[in-house]
Symmetry: C2
Subunit: 190 residues, 2 copies
């Protein structure tokens, strides 16, 4: 059966370093590549499935005074599968943004409430932007990732972070544009 995006997310992580399911879960709490995430209830079964397909394998590591863990690694077949998928162009999927749905019906709401809704969302995106900027600063602190080039996993991570930053700052800018347009309208009651 076809591998789902989550499967490729896991393969993408394991291609960088072998690690346990638990470590993968921690990495995916904060979205991997800044645009994907999953819960453990999805990750453990998916790892099993990848294993039955021969794309990953695991060894059990026993430790004294610690729960034992399964360290997963990507196999040759897994790497080939990942490479084939990554190299294949894809269609733009339909975008879903519940907030846009809200804005679409915001005309039914009192202006003061409406602006509060927008301001709160702007703030949430500004917070994310902040987090991403910090991560970027850390990354740059360890040397210029751009210099590493296309064949470097670190550059790939940097590229997705950069998209995250532009996405969040674009969202913030749009929220501000909207608030200004409403202000000019005189519809704002502070």
């Amino acid at each position: 059966m076809a591998i789902i995006p989550l499967g490729y997310a896991l393969l993408g992580l394991l291609a960088r370093a072998p690690q346990s399911g638990y470590e993968l879960i921690l990495r995916m709490e904060e979205p991997i590549a800044f645009f994907w995430h999953a819960r453990r209830s999805q990750i453990y079964p998916e790892l099993e499935r990848l294993e039955t397909e021969g794309l990953v394998s695991h060894t059990v590591v026993e430790r004294h005074n610690r729960p034992s863990k399964k360290i997963y690694s990507i196999t040759q077949a897994g790497l080939a599968e990942l490479r084939a998928w990554a190299g294949k162009p894809m269609d733009v999927p339909p975008d879903r943004d519940e907030f846009m749905l809200k804005v679409y019906s915001l005309w039914t709401v009192e202006p003061s409430e409406a602006t509060a809704v927008i301001r709160a969302y702007e703030q949430a995106h500004a917070n994310r932007l902040d987090r991403y900027e910090h991560i970027k600063a850390e990354m740059l602190h360890n040397g210029d990732p751009i210099a590493l080039g296309l064949h470097s996993p670190r550059f790939a991570a940097y590229a997705t972070l950069q998209r995250g930053i532009e996405y969040e700052s674009g969202y913030v800018a749009w929220c501000r544009w909207l608030l200004e347009a409403l202000e000019a309208d005189g519809g704002i009651q502070t």
Copy 2:
């Protein structure tokens, strides 16, 4: 039970004008508010559900030499529900973008293939941007929507379109940035 985003999408459309399930389906093929869509297999049952909750109602319109249709309207209760939801701030949901997942693993792929993948995606977003710009031009042709202000459904639609435009042009810009970074790296084989 709680109403799902699709339900609010339908209420948001019906708040503008009563219409049939079929018309709603046509509207949602091209994403409503530029960031939501659904298939008919989801829309018909959801309309039924909204009706059992008393949020919409329908009348059957028989026409000679044509299939009859059910015209749905939003009820007072439906409008109240929509307003309550629209006026309530929401958390930023986890974003999902499969392309970012691909980029995250693009270092495993041959440079020439990788750049082809990025170029194709850039083109797809550029096409969308183009479509959105045309819609915007049309909208502006019918008078400045900003002047209509917050209480106007037309302004609300314009605002979401504006976000769509900024989203797509941001994506295109990022693709170009990435391609340039790779070019500077010398990794490109045209």
